[in-house]
Amino acid sequence: MRERLVVIGNGMAGTACVEQIVKYASRFDITIFGDETHVNYNRILLSSVLAGEKSADDIVLNSLDWYRQNDIRLRLGVRITNIDPAAKTVTGADGATTSFDKLLIATGSSPLIPPIDGVSKPGVYVFRNLDDTRALLDRAHAGARAVVIGGGLLGLEAARGLQIQGCEVMVVHLMETLMERQLDSVGGSYLKARMECLGIKVFLDRSTTHIFGDTCAEGVRFKDGTEIPADFVVIAAGIRPNVELARTAGLEVNRAIVVNDCMETSHPDIFAVGECTEHRGICYGLVAPLIEQGKVLAATITGNKGQTYTGTVSAAKLKIMGVAVFSAGDFSAATPGNDVVRFEDPALGVYKKLILRDNRLAGLILVGDASDSHRYMDWLESKTDLTDKRRNLLFPEPVADCGLDVAELPQSRIVCGCHGVTKGTIVQTIQERGLTTLAQLKECTRASTGCGSCSELCQHLLKAVAPQFREEKQKALCKCIPLNEDRLREIVRNERLRSVQQVLDLYGNSAGCAVCKPALSYMMDMVWCGAHQEDRSARFVNDRVHANIQKDGSFSVVPRIRGGVTSPEELRRIADVAEKYKVRMVKITGSQRIDLLGVQKSDLPAIWADLGMPSGQAYSKGVRMVKTCVGTDFCRFGVQDSIATGVELERRFENLFTPHKLKMGVVGCPRNCAEATVKDIGLVGQDGSWQVVVGGAAGKRVRKADLLITVESSEEALQAAALFFQYYRENANYLERSYDFVERVGIERVRRDTIYAPLAVQQGLRERLRRSKANSKDAWLEGDRPCHPSQFVQIEPLPPVLPLERVP
């Protein structure tokens, strides 16, 4: 009979260790007890789930299949309440007793709840597991005020996640420095500035005494009597190892379960791993040490004793996009004999500090730029003598050959901290399996599937090792700025860049060109919902003068005629304008609009004034028009009011910019007279319902639009259209028409991210659309109030002497 191994704890440490154990031999009959009801997932990524970047499924580390394939009995939702070391049994909360030959304790830790009055009130949350995360996601909504107690790694990541969900977030920290266990006070102040730049308020040196509120949390009160109101409170004040089981079982326990270098406890058949252990006086709370411990323990428990665990250089990394923080080793500079090498630039928000002892790196802090953390980690772990590198410690000479950079890494160096994958493993896997892409590498080694911070290093390894490496790159915006648009949007948001020139100066070649400037102009407007710094020099001429340039340098003027419904009076004015300004052609367009062609730039303001109509935006990468059929008012077949709905649709979206031009159509019956099924957004009326269709085209190519949803009322149809509209605005690349976008993303995903998205996501889309709309205006108002005195004026040369100039 095989030996029975019982594992208490189905978290990262325990399961990673079991993964190692089953690699040795199948000598064990394994049972894993998990208190939570989920398979093993990547706890580090809970902040990404909270931020909506990943779903619960995305962070699963071991699927049910894995347990099944390895013949592991998994008992989820069963909390072990007792260990009997003499009888060698464990008892679960369900009363069942299980015998073991070997026992592995991997109970992890629990949130530390500080002594605060009112912590048990409804509306007070912790952030430790998937259920906590789901509860927070349910609670978080746009505009909700959240107070996070704790300014450590977890607290800050939770704060950012909640903020991304639309909450107004305040972080309250007991100490004077954020992340004081990882940073010094200067580093902490740089981090605070970054967090505040993201819009998260930080209160330091505040001791919370009360969580007040009648029936549920309504705010927090501090020792000094001041208060902050809040809709809910999150406690992220640290962790406490779960050691009660071990203690009552009589194992040696200090702060946590004491283990030796072979990961054995004081009982010969009981082992422990992870956050619940104390090794050489240290309790680790980060993932890399747990993985190393697991490897040693697997060797020990399977009878391959020999490997020892001697401790890990602690290293911490904050996983908030745009807020690079990395810290490792001992950074207290106070010890005599330490050299401190520092660099800081408040304007860039970059702070780097290296602590050297006897010319060897003892600790480091990086804030604002952690791109070279792996090199420092290497120096730290290998205790490299840095005497001959002293001149280039903080600014190493650039490595022209990325293979060299990779070659310097030792084989045993862990590249992926989330999964404990070493450089050696990666190189070996690439060679043995003939891998060529990062996707394959991820699949085979799981490297870079966790937090993703090592993906660049993995790419470099592939490049250096794989003979036919194919770089998977999203297209950079243009040669001026070597980043793709997804990344740029992230940067613009995180760094709060509000002007095109700022982006070009910081991330590009400063000059920009006719490709990136309009694209960035759009991005600024979209990201900041119109509250950006408009720079007309970065706009195409059409958007400088709000008319469409023609082959001879003249312009065309198309007034807005919503839904294509006009009046004799309006037509008369149009006719008068056409005559007065000798318009060379008056044309009815394919979009049911009237185009006045051949107008001089300097005449535009006067023409707009005479027309007395808003801009039809027919020159812009923006909302063009809604084409409608006659609908129920006159048509014998109309079953829905296409005109009123079409006019309303146009009114809701008009004056907004989109990644490319956006044409819409609304028809009152499936005969589809206004061709709604070949528009970017179409509403097709049926008896008693509307079909909302998206991604149609009738241009260079013809594409029938995809059905987004069928709804009953006009308002619901308009709401669904609004979700898609804003989703397209936020996610498409510049100059990507809706039909290319829908094909690239896939209509299923579009539905999932819009009409079937969680309520908070939908509200976010609606709210940003509302803000953009509130900040938009009819461009032709600039006829009266030009944004620059010479915007429309034909400048005349000055008379030779008189210092006078002509102004219209």
Binding site: S537, A538, Q794, I795, P803
Partner: protein
């Protein structure tokens, strides 16, 4: 050898040409495009050699301009086409100087007088105002 007569023509105040934009100015039938590069002004003939596009309406890319019609790109410092190597076309460039906040260009003569040309559009019905220019601002 014939010597080409030139003259300096004051065009407009610096403030009339926004940074990183251009403006077209009609000097007695000669269309001049003046650009404000931030650190200096540059003047060229306002006609793209490709299809006659108004270069003053183009987007600037450093010290190059992109024609708004078909994106032909020209280096403003020497007038050369940058993205159509097969083309021998070249822009006319004019020397520029800035004095007392006024941009002037050196254009070829012969022209009898340097007075301002009347407005080219005859249907302006809005009143034309003449105002004193603001204090001349130094060239950026």
């Amino acid at each position: 050898m014939t010597r080409i007569e030139t003259r300096w023509v004051p065009l407009t105040g610096c403030e009339n040409i926004p940074v990183r934009e251009g403006r077209a100015i009609d000097v007695q039938g000669q269309q001049v495009a003046v650009f404000n590069l931030g650190h200096k002004f540059i003047a060229i003939g306002n006609r793209c050699p490709h299809r006659g596009g108004p270069l003053a309406d183009g987007i600037l890319s450093g010290s190059s301009v992109v024609c708004p019609l078909h994106a032909w790109t020209f280096d403003l410092t020497d007038g050369r086409v940058k993205n159509h190597p097969e083309s021998q076309a070249c822009l006319v460039t004019f020397p520029v100087r800035v004095e007392h906040g006024i941009v002037s260009v050196e254009l070829p003569a012969p022209l009898e007088d340097c007075g301002a040309k009347p407005a080219s559009c005859d249907h302006r019905d809005r009143p034309v105002r003449w105002v004193l220019r603001k204090e001349p601002s130094p060239a950026p």
